[in-house]
């Protein structure tokens, strides 16, 4: 376990890029949104929401992918096994997701308590994603980090193992398969049924359960793929 913590430090030792950039970019997004919405005299009801929060998730996913393509070759060179490296990476991403979930929840409370920073802005209280239960809210914020980061990690591992051609070939196959699937669904008229199934899902399953399951699948896939990867 100490070995895993020592290897986890590889992701946090240069903490500025890992931690500061995603929040700095989100902060800028929040700042500009505040300016824009403050300068609109009377925002129409329901038109005071922004998607600025997505920037945090996207930058975090990019950092996660870079942690594979850059840190993995270094770790392997330092005599770290693929297994230990991946477990350490998983640990960092899970802890980070939970910590960020809590932090976003606190910001959510702050936004709610200040009446949307005084201008009814809904930056953190994104509609539908804004739930009433505190613990559920933390999970709702945390799980998309896991989903996106492990997806990014899986893609990065695929790239490290199979190179540019392998990545693009897999991407092409994925597009082909999903295209054929959509064609099949359209042809059979299954979209209505799918929509019905989605809307019948509990909010918690849709926002937490299913993305967490997909994140776990991507995480296990990345583990399997990295075991045979060479830097």
């Amino acid at each position: 376990m100490t070995r895993i913590l020592d290897v986890a430090r590889m992701h946090t030792v240069a903490w500025l890029g890992q931690l500061a950039w995603p929040w700095a970019i989100m902060g800028i997004s929040l700042g500009t949104n505040l300016l824009i919405f403050a300068s609109i005299d009377d925002a129409a009801p329901g038109k005071n929401t922004t998607g600025g929060l997505a920037s945090l998730y996207i930058v975090c996913a990019i950092v996660a992918a870079a942690s594979i393509t850059q840190v993995f070759p270094f770790a392997l060179g330092m005599g770290v096994t693929r297994r230990t490296f991946y477990l350490a990476t998983t640990l960092v991403n899970v802890v980070q997701a939970v910590a960020y979930g809590v932090l976003l929840y606190l910001l959510n409370l702050l936004e709610g308590g200040t009446n949307g920073f005084g201008i009814q802005l809904r930056f953190f209280r994104v509609p539908y994603v804004d739930v009433s239960n505190g613990l559920l809210q933390i999970a709702v914020y945390a799980v998309p980090f896991l989903f996106l980061n492990f997806l990014a990690i899986f893609v990065a591992v695929w790239y490290v193992r199979f190179g540019t051609n392998g990545l693009f070939a897999t991407g092409a196959v994925a597009i082909l398969v999903s295209g054929l699937l959509i064609a099949l669904i359209t042809w059979q008229g299954w979209f209505g049924d799918i929509w019905q199934w989605l809307s019948s899902q509990h909010q918690a399953s849709l926002l937490v359960g299913w993305p967490a399951l997909l994140a776990a699948a991507a995480g296990l896939g990345g583990m399997a793929a990295i075991r045979r990867a060479n830097a």
Partner: protein
Amino acid sequence: MSVVAAAGLTKRFGDVTALNDVTFTLTENRIYGLLGRNGAGKTTLMQLITGQNSVSVGDLTLFGERPFENERALMRVAFIKESQKYPAAYQVRHVLSLASRLFPNWDEDFAQSLVDEFELPRKRGVRKLSRGMTSALGVTIGLAARAPLTFFDEPYLGLDAVARQLFYDRLLADYAENPRTVVLSTHLIDEVADLIEHVLLLDHGKLLLDAPSEELRGQVMEASGPAEAVDEFATAHRALHREQLGGTARTTLRGSFDNAERMRAKKLGIDLAPVSLQQAVVRLTAEGTNPR
């Protein structure tokens, strides 16, 4: 106990055979020279031993265990290579601080003194270091790690002569105090000839030579003198190389040169002299490449 044992080791990349049926052992507390031309298979061999890559055929053990994905065995190895990649965000001090926790025998004072001697800027980004400074960082890690098995794969690239000498001096001094197994893979054979105790020579993926350097020095000699006498003398040995200028010939020979042989050479009017390790390696490799 053998530190590394390889038997019939073969590694293929597609249809390229990088290592072909290589068998050898590395023993404790010795400095090895892993020599050979570019593409001979040196780096591949080190990658297999350090678990960076998997074995195709054959058996390989590191401290008695298979190295691939073996934490316990790999923790006792430092692999310093010219091609080591570092994350863009890392500064010199980050790399040192990580290495200090990853290598169980790390000597922090030694590391800091090396950083000072190589004049490494602690707060500079690793990717912004010059070629030579990147090498100096690798050398610092390799020495301070005090790993029971340490590989240096072309560690000197870009290092100036003064820094290289500093590396050789520190390596030798620290090796005397903390004996361990060191493998030097290098093209500057003459520079490290005095350090190397045992030579492993690879050529086209095959192990051409596995011998103590002292033994090798006594085995490869250069005989020069009248062409006829040299050729007569050469019949008792393996001629690796021959050149003639007028009536004078010079051949590089491999064999055993005991006192009787030395006397015979003297009687024939032949000058018998040992060749440098680098010359021996060049001649042996050339012979292996172009069998007569």
